[in-house]
């Protein structure tokens, strides 16, 4: 069985934000504008969180890219009254936009705060509408959205593999964030395949998960070691 996972090496991350930009472009995420962003309504499925370690003058900035953790025990799923968010057999927390009625309960119950709500209808000012990804739907107002692990790319690769009568190869699928990371800090793959790069990295000493004590069993693994 497949279980998609993502490994982020925070020791490599430079905090450049290329992943966040690539994610916007790939997934048709609306840019809300200055005024709305000031109200806390900015939408970035992938964001770089900054944390400061140590006391002055010995201060160090840590960058932590945070996206939907695709939890195996996802707190967001059971609370949705209309099954708009659910678990796929391949371990993704899927969103069915057409079902979502906007109770926003899922977002309240997400300990990682990675769910984003469309407060208004999305607008893509000229010429941005020309770069919309035809493989991804544009979400209307009143609907919740979040990282999908670039499910359209997963599906595409699976279709090709099926046509060629073979399994999807490790490394064949790259999420937009992983593809655009100049430091190559992000790796995507199948956690259930013991030979895959992600599962080998997950075995390493540096591997950790975010808010692990909540037993959400995230599919995103952070590598974090020395300096």
């Amino acid at each position: 069985m497949t279980r998609w996972g993502l490994v982020i090496d925070t020791d490599r991350c430079t905090g450049c934000g290329a992943c966040a930009v690539a994610c916007h472009a790939e997934n048709n995420i609306q840019t809300v504008g200055e005024e709305e962003a000031a109200k806390g309504r900015a939408m970035h499925w992938m964001r770089i969180e900054r944390y400061y370690e140590g006391t002055f003058p010995d201060v160090r900035v840590r960058f932590q890219p945070v996206l939907c953790q695709q939890c195996r025990q996802a707190p967001c799923e059971p609370v949705c009254p209309v099954y708009a968010t659910y678990r796929t057999p391949e371990g993704l927390n899927a969103m069915v936009y057409a079902r979502c009625i906007g109770t926003r309960y899922c977002a309240n119950n997400c300990p990682y705060t990675v769910r984003f709500f469309n407060w208004f209808s999305p607008e893509f000012p000229e010429p941005l509408q020309r770069q919309l990804n035809p493989d991804v739907s544009v979400r209307p107002a009143g609907v919740m959205e979040k990282c999908t692990f670039c499910v359209q790319r997963i599906q595409d690769a699976q279709d090709i593999a099926q046509d060629e009568d073979r399994e999807v190869r490790d490394g064949e699928i790259r999420t937009a964030c992983s593809q655009s990371c100049p430091a190559q800090a992000i790796t995507f793959g199948d956690l259930d395949d013991p030979a895959s790069r992600v599962s080998q990295m997950a075995e390493e000493q540096r591997a950790t998960r975010l808010l692990e004590d909540l037993s959400t069993e995230p599919s995103v693994i952070y590598m974090r070691g020395g300096r």
Binding site: P78, R99, G102, P111, Y112, G142
Partner: protein, 455 residues
């Protein structure tokens, strides 16, 4: 003599329905405008999308859910209190039950609006209703929101029935009187329909009493379940200071507390406005004041227990929310709540003079404000501080949210004014029955006293 007394009761209690009261008229007009404000604001939000409210990320819930919990809490005034008093056969309940039950029904109707108001896509709210359609979609019964729908619908239907059953004989009295005056008017037709052909036969009385008795027993667990489930909207989530096991009973106590508060205010206004002090007497205020005091103590105890355990556990995420309340940005809100909900009630209600109509009404107003604050602190206080510190947020409501809050209060008062003008707010037949029972008891006492000297 007994009949004459009964007739004077009837006259006094029916007068508010027939006499023109300028104050009531102006009141209806003003609250009617507020109802307009409610629907204008809501309409504005539907047309321009939910973004016109001040909610954001991470404060996804704001005034709307606060109002929802507040109004559902208020609804525990009536039915629960009147059911308990009926089941325990407290005689002084007779003039209180109906005005309390009406509070329940109207507060529930308004509370039930808020989950719809707060939806991102309110026009497809019916996705939450279990209708077997070709869409092949079935609601998720694991979600506390679905439990809410089930519980609140049950409670609303139960409360309507519980309000309506004791109304039937009074509607028959009104019908009989109206038939004599103007048999063809719309008002008469209304009373005829509402009286359901009541003739007052012994068999009808028997069925009615059996029905009321059954409903009084059934409605108590339903009411308790409703606010428990509302609390579980929060307690089932893993967020700091939401994930608490005592939230169920804590919310039920808070709900009844705010319910008694609104009942005290309503009774005071009814007594002043309609001149029915004979029924809503000082004794009634005194007794309800004692109940009020008991709930003030219970609420204070729960609040103390909830905060002490969080502080003693000293978990990082919980303490962030806790500190904000006790000494942080929302400290002034929190301490206002402690003053209105604990300090004032406990320094007024223990004294017989404090349990006067005016005293209890003033305490009641304070408690209403305090209980709204409590819900606000729970909803917004927690959401502002997510576990990942990077995402700390802020919240300030827009005019739409304020308009809907003010409008909902207006709608409540408007409905209540309308109710006062179409039904006797004090149950005529129940007061009459109470009078009969009292006379009977006195006669027996006299008879017993006559026999005694021989022993």
């Amino acid at each position: 003599m007994s009949n004459a007394v009964a007739r004077s009761h009837e006259e006094q209690l029916i007068r508010p329905l027939t006499a023109f009261r300028p104050k009531l008229f102006v009141g209806s007009l003003v609250t009617g405008l507020l109802v307009g404000l409610l629907f204008y604001s809501w309409g504005y939000q539907i047309v321009n999308d939910i973004g016109v409210a001040g909610i954001n990320r991470p404060v996804f819930w704001g005034f709307y859910i606060t109002n929802f919990v507040f109004w559902i809490g208020i609804s525990h005034a009536g039915t629960l209190i009147s059911a308990i008093l009926r089941v325990t056969q407290a005689e002084w309940r007779r003039p209180v039950t109906r005005c309390a039950e009406a509070i329940t029904t109207f507060a529930l109707m308004i509370g039930g609006l808020f989950p719809l108001i707060h939806l991102g896509r309110p026009l497809i709210f019916w996705y939450m209703v279990p209708i077997p359609t070709g869409r092949g979609i079935w609601p998720n019964f694991r979600s506390p929101l679905m439990w809410d729908i089930m519980a609140i619908t049950t409670y609303l239907l139960g409360s309507l029935l519980y309000l309506f059953l004791p109304l039937i004989p009074d509607m028959a009295i009104l019908r009989d009187r109206a038939m004599k005056v103007s048999p063809r008017s719309v008002r008469t037709l209304f009373f005829r329909v509402m009286a359901l052909g009541w003739r007052g036969t012994p068999q009808q009385w028997h069925s009615l009493e059996a029905g009321i008795r059954a409903m009084a027993v059934i409605i108590i667990p339903v009411a308790v379940s409703v606010h428990t489930i509302v609390s579980w909207d929060f307690a089932m989530a893993v967020q700091p200071m939401w994930h608490s096991t005592i939230f169920g009973p804590y919310f039920v106590v808070g709900a009844i507390y705010s319910g008694v508060a609104v009942l005290m205010v309503a009774m005071y206004l009814l007594r002043r406005g309609l001149g029915i002090g004979e029924y809503l007497s000082d004794k009634v205020f005194n007794n309800l004041g004692l109940l009020f005091l008991a709930f003030a103590l219970m609420w204070g105890y729960f609040t103390f227990a909830e905060h002490l355990t969080v502080w003693y556990g000293h978990e990082h995420a919980e303490m962030t929310v806790f500190n904000q309340r006790i000494s942080g940005e929302y400290a002034w809100v929190f301490w206002t709540m402690i003053v209105t909900n604990v300090v004032i009630p406990l320094s007024v209600l223990p004294f017989p003079k404090g349990r006067s109509p005016l005293g209890t009404a003033i305490v009641g107003l304070g408690v209403l404000v305090g209980m709204w604050i409590e819900r606000f602190l729970i909803v917004v206080g927690t959401l502002r501080y997510p576990r990942l510190d990077f995402n700390v947020g802020t919240y300030s409501p827009t005019w739409v949210e304020v308009g809907i809050l003010v409008g909902s209060v207006g709608l409540f008062v408007f409905l209540y004014f309308a109710f006062v003008q179409t039904t006797p707010i004090v149950s005529i037949w129940e007061v009459r029955e109470g009078h009969h029972l009292e006379v009977k008891a006195r006669m027996q006492h006299l008879a017993a006293a006559k026999e005694e000297p021989h022993v």
